[in-house]
Symmetry: C2
Subunit: 495 residues, 2 copies
């Protein structure tokens, strides 16, 4: 029954295993194949379709990592009962789809994080780093000062004095940001969602760096937009490909992270920043700059947001204050080109009317008193220590053929495994040893296997970093050995 | 040029003036007619199109109330420069579009509300009613108890103890709500937006009561959905029309407010509630129940949410805690049928990851200590007094031919002006006298003129209610006189 419905094309650009995977994925999601249905045995399906056994194996593996099928030893592969499937159960989740990114998984505790888990997945600081007392004082001061007004509706654009403080904080030299340019939002994720609402209609195109932040992918996809991927390399997005894609797809905007890109940690070179802005002006395309880490630089180079180089009002700037400060506050802002004020404000309004006034008022005080600036310096020191622990451990233990570029700042490292080893396998092996990280496949808009993985040191005490890296190293070595074995094995016919 | 593009059909169901209005509206929005372009003179256009002068006048008037055209005395009608138009300028805004509803207008202070303004537009309590001290205590208690954890990411579904408190608060008799059913959200508007994200794709249909809450219209429209209107009457939505529309359009859901509907204040009869649920089950359509006022009943009848009658898991229940409590907190929740858990959670996640944990934790304490329940009783007394002030003043002063049905609770009254008087005219006249309210046209998904208007007593001290009603009465009487004059005038040819 299933076999009849599958149409593979050997002349397509898409590899056969992905074609097969995509079609089965569709059928399972649409319930065309019912729950607990046994999929055709690998050899039988391969024969019927005139393809290699390995192609079927790869397709089934991807489905399994999506949580859409499960295998019974000695019996075969079965379709998961999606109705009764526990939300986010077990390990399969992390791969389930890019709708659910790392922060969610970790912080929802849906993947069990025990006391002994070494968590390289979370890019969120641990609670003891938050300035609880300072913020408590700010809250109380605001309540005594503003009373009930702190609980009334706030204007949708945001509490004016806070917009003023932010504009002052952001302006550098001659690059001035005005309070009128600022739109307060409930965290960077909301910023992305609001921009998607304001700019993307069904069928519109946009460009993202590939890989990129999964929360952005999910928000753009939710608008029914087409996501165009352009690879990112050490010094920024690949400009020649970008220009081609712009010409071909006329995207509404380019979503990028010029400083400490997520997940790669890469920083755009100055030349590429200038070039990117030039392209944006030439083709009248907007740039959405997502920045939550610029302050956390450990290198020599002074890094500034792209926004401050933007003389043609092309950049929408999303800046989270809460991510490395107190993520549970949900506080960020947008700085928006004038022509977009109205649309962005309307999108904010339909999203949640306004960001809680009490939090805005307290954070305003916090900024005005200069406590934020002190807190950032403190955080930079804390993270710099963890960064070097990580860098040293990786250099000491990881095999030579693991590729990576040490980032100049931020909270994450991006590694590439040697040919033939998938990050998903490493992920599963490490999970058993209570070490958690994010496999690279999560960061791509289209499903794919990946040799990359991301390690973050944001939530790990320095003394555990080395221990964690040693465990991961062991797993890698095991997989490297297995790979050699597999290579031998694959000379004999499969199954 | 413009004339050539207009195609009117005398056999269409739509009145000619609306056809003309819709086509011009489209052309102006699309910039087919440029800024500051002079529209054809009324008589000339009427002659060319073979229609009555009055038809053109009515169409132009609607465009003007949308802020899309402006008139120069003695010169003619011109297209507004939409690029340079001040956001929310002046009076035209309230009518500008249903994207911008009352709360926004009022609270953004974009319509100037002076010290002497009598504001019947805002449905938000005044700040002195907020329980500042109690909430401050709760905040401090939480910070001392949870420290940094109060600032970390919260699970996207919401702080578990709060979901527990809410489930307990909500369960009545045998109708049990479980913490697992609850999704914490940042205010009811976000709830609407999240449901729209989770359920509506481009081109999908949904049903709303007509008139309805403008913030909902805007959120649904933003998804590219088709909004089907079904009239509401004193005892609820018109069920025969509803059933027809369900059969014809197969909507994803019916958005409704069974208790104290906004803007009408109407309450569904028990029979209609049962019937509505039956229809939902029969046609497998969901019901989205928006409830923020059920607690504010001043009558005899015990009102319960529709959700508690729902034995077939058809109702998505949106409940705001903050609206009449402390709107600036942005706190509400959804109670969701099991099949929708996952989609709703994903939509919450891409919207803003989670609602601020500190606020969730403080509100949990607030509920557990029973302070919320006390506060609600207090608010009910305060509003009951204002309600009767309003009811008495209206009965004493308003002319007999103003129609209305006294609501059984809530914060608003809904009036109908006599034939031939538009609420927009009354609105403009009252605005000059510093009395503000919301004209009915704002509450419809499709532009129309309206004889209805909404008066809220939420933000007015009792001693000003009578004064306000007297001013409105004067304006009404003036318009009634003018109407008689106009009637005489209209016997002579127009222009």
């Amino acid at each position: 029954m299933v076999v009849e419905l599958i149409k593979l094309s050997k002349t397509s650009d898409q590899p056969l295993y992905l074609q097969l995977y995509n079609q089965l994925h569709e059928m399972i999601k649409n319930r065309q194949i019912p729950a607990d249905y046994k999929l055709p045995p690998i050899r039988k399906l391969a024969k019927k379709l005139g393809i290699n056994n390995v192609t079927v194996v790869n397709a089934y593996k991807l489905l399994e990592s999506d949580g859409l099928v499960y295998s019974k030893i000695g019996s075969g592969t079965y379709v998961t009962d999606l109705e009764n499937k526990e939300l986010f159960e077990g390990n399969s989740v992390l791969e389930e789809s890019s709708d659910f990114e790392e922060v969610k998984l970790i912080n929802q505790g849906q993947i069990e994080i025990g006391e002994n888990t070494i968590n390289f997945a979370s890019a969120t600081p641990t609670p003891e780093l938050f300035p609880v007392d300072d913020f408590k004082n700010a809250l109380n001061e605001v309540l005594d000062r503003d009373k009930g007004f702190a609980f009334g509706y706030q204007e949708s654009q945001g509490f004016y004095p806070l917009r003023e403080s932010i504009a002052t904080y952001l302006s550098v030299g001659t690059s001035k940001i005005e309070p009128e340019d600022i739109q307060i939002i409930s965290g960077a994720q909301q910023g992305i969602d609001i921009i998607a609402k304001a700019l993307l209609n069904y069928g519109d195109c946009l460009v993202v760096e590939s890989p990129t932040y999964t929360g952005a992918i999910a928000a753009f996809r939710s608008r029914g937009a087409h996501i165009i991927e352009v690879p990112i390399e050490q010094d920024g997005i690949k400009l020649d490909i970008l220009e081609d894609k712009i010409k071909k797809f006329r995207p509404k905007f380019i979503y990028c992270m010029p400083n400490f890109q997520n997940p790669t940690g890469y920083c755009y070179s100055y030349a590429k920043r200038k070039e990117l802005l030039k392209l944006a002006t030439k083709y009248e395309v907007l740039i959405v700059e997502d920045d939550y880490l610029t302050e956390l630089d450990y290198g020599e180079r002074e890094l500034l947001p792209l926004k401050l180089l933007d003389t043609n009002d092309r950049v929408i700037y999303i800046k989270s204050f809460s991510k490395i400060f107190m993520p549970g506050l949900r506080l960020a802002f947008l700085s928006v080109p004038q022509e977009l004020y109205e649309g962005v404000l309307a999108a904010k309004h339909i999203s949640d009317i306004s960001t809680p006034g009490l939090i805005q008022r307290a954070f305003d005080l916090y900024l005005r008193k200069g406590i934020w600036q002190k807190q950032i310096s403190y955080m930079r020191e804390v993270y710099k220590e963890r960064y070097y622990k990580m860098l040293n451990a990786v250099r000491q233990y990881f095999p030579q053929d693991i590729e990576f570029i040490p980032p100049e700042g931020g909270l994450t490292f991006w590694f590439k495994l040697p040919e033939g080893i998938l990050a998903q396998d490493l992920y599963e092996d490490c999970l058993e040893k209570d070490v958690l990280f994010i496999p690279g496949s999560v960061f791509y808009p289209t499903p794919r296997s990946s040799q990359h993985f991301r390690l973050s040191f944001a939530a790990i005490y320095p003394e555990y970093i080395e221990a964690g890296i040693r465990i991961i190293t062991k797993s890698i070595n095991k997989l490297l050995k297995g790979k050699k074995k597999n290579r031998t094995k694959s000379y004999t016919p499969l199954l």
